[in-house]
Symmetry: C2
Subunit: 195 residues, 2 copies
């Protein structure tokens, strides 16, 4: 299916061009015209793949999700001990290098752009909360969660911690670098895990 | 000084009109023209107080900070036991009612608007981090912080937790309501405090 593959690749290239425009110039500058120029395609070619700017932004955002999900699945399929798996998965949700910082910029720009554009129905639908719920369950199933903890509370707390760290690392990358994020995450896991 | 008071009051009224426009229509719609209409003043009168839109947005944002700070100072000057004071101060940093939800909307809109407008130098300067550092110190000085905890790590963790909860409550107000935020905060304080 060379044609389908080709189409997907072109759409991904356009999505990546979208990220670059968002990161360099802000989401308000991410017009189809600028994105087409950045991707090196004509406006007509871009419109062939994405009929509206909204459709393009949505695709670009979903590609972020797909890449994060793929990395997380790769970790889950390793033979690492459960707690190390959980720690690695959580790190994937944080901006720890240029690539994931770019993803995070796109994610925040997208989420708050939709809201600041007045779209209150733009629900946060990034599947992170259900993932965190499953991670807490996973620790519990392996007998690693300290006794007496409420799983619902712990999922909410871990979810807030991870997204708070992500936001702060994006806004204050010099203060909150990768090493410090890893450290704080480990302090937290230490506090909820036994053994 | 009736004139000065009058000026301050007018500026505050314009700032509050700015909040309403941001909350209802998004920060991108917050033009001086719309804000003047919402405040019920002429464009000329508005320009008398704020010569640029940026100046107006900055004033509106600073008024949010001032109000939060005033509420926090009021708590600190009560006779509540230290741990209860800390819990109450932390709650002031979360969107627990319509008023504080509006403040949070403005804060997030402002922070991410500046970034998405490409202003990477728009540092997060909301004085929350130093406040959290002081709260952890305060607990420690009163012998309430569990032994063996690193104060720097705990400040970072609490800071991320609070801002993560604030962001989630804003994006998912139905799932994460006031009761649930109070509960998760208390679980966290319980985990770091002794006695």
């Amino acid at each position: 299916m060379p044609k389908i593959v080709d189409h997907l690749e072109r759409k991904s290239n356009i999505a990546e061009a979208t990220w670059r425009v968002i990161i360099q110039q802000g989401i308000q500058a991410a017009t189809v015209r600028k994105i087409a120029a950045e991707a090196g395609v004509s406006l007509g070619a871009l419109r062939h793949y994405f009929s509206t700017q909204h459709e393009l932004l949505l695709f670009a955002m979903n590609l972020v999700k797909e890449r994060v999900t793929a990395r997380i699945l790769a970790i889950i399929h390793t033979d690492l001990p459960p707690r190390e798996q959980v720690a690695k998965v959580l790190l994937e949700l944080l901006p720890t290098d240029d690539g994931s910082m770019a993803e995070m910029e796109v994610w925040f720009a997208f989420t708050f752009h939709l809201r600041s554009a007045g779209d209150k129905s733009a629900e946060l639908d990034d599947a992170i909360y259900p993932l965190i719920v499953r991670l807490i369950d996973y620790l519990d199933q392996h007998g690693l969660l300290k006794q007496g903890l409420d799983k619902g509370d712990e999922a909410e707390r871990l979810y807030a911690l991870v997204d708070g760290l992500a936001m702060h690392a994006m806004l204050e990358p010099e203060r909150l670098d990768r090493q410090r994020m890893v450290r704080v995450l480990n302090v937290h896991l230490e506090s909820i895990c036994c053994g």
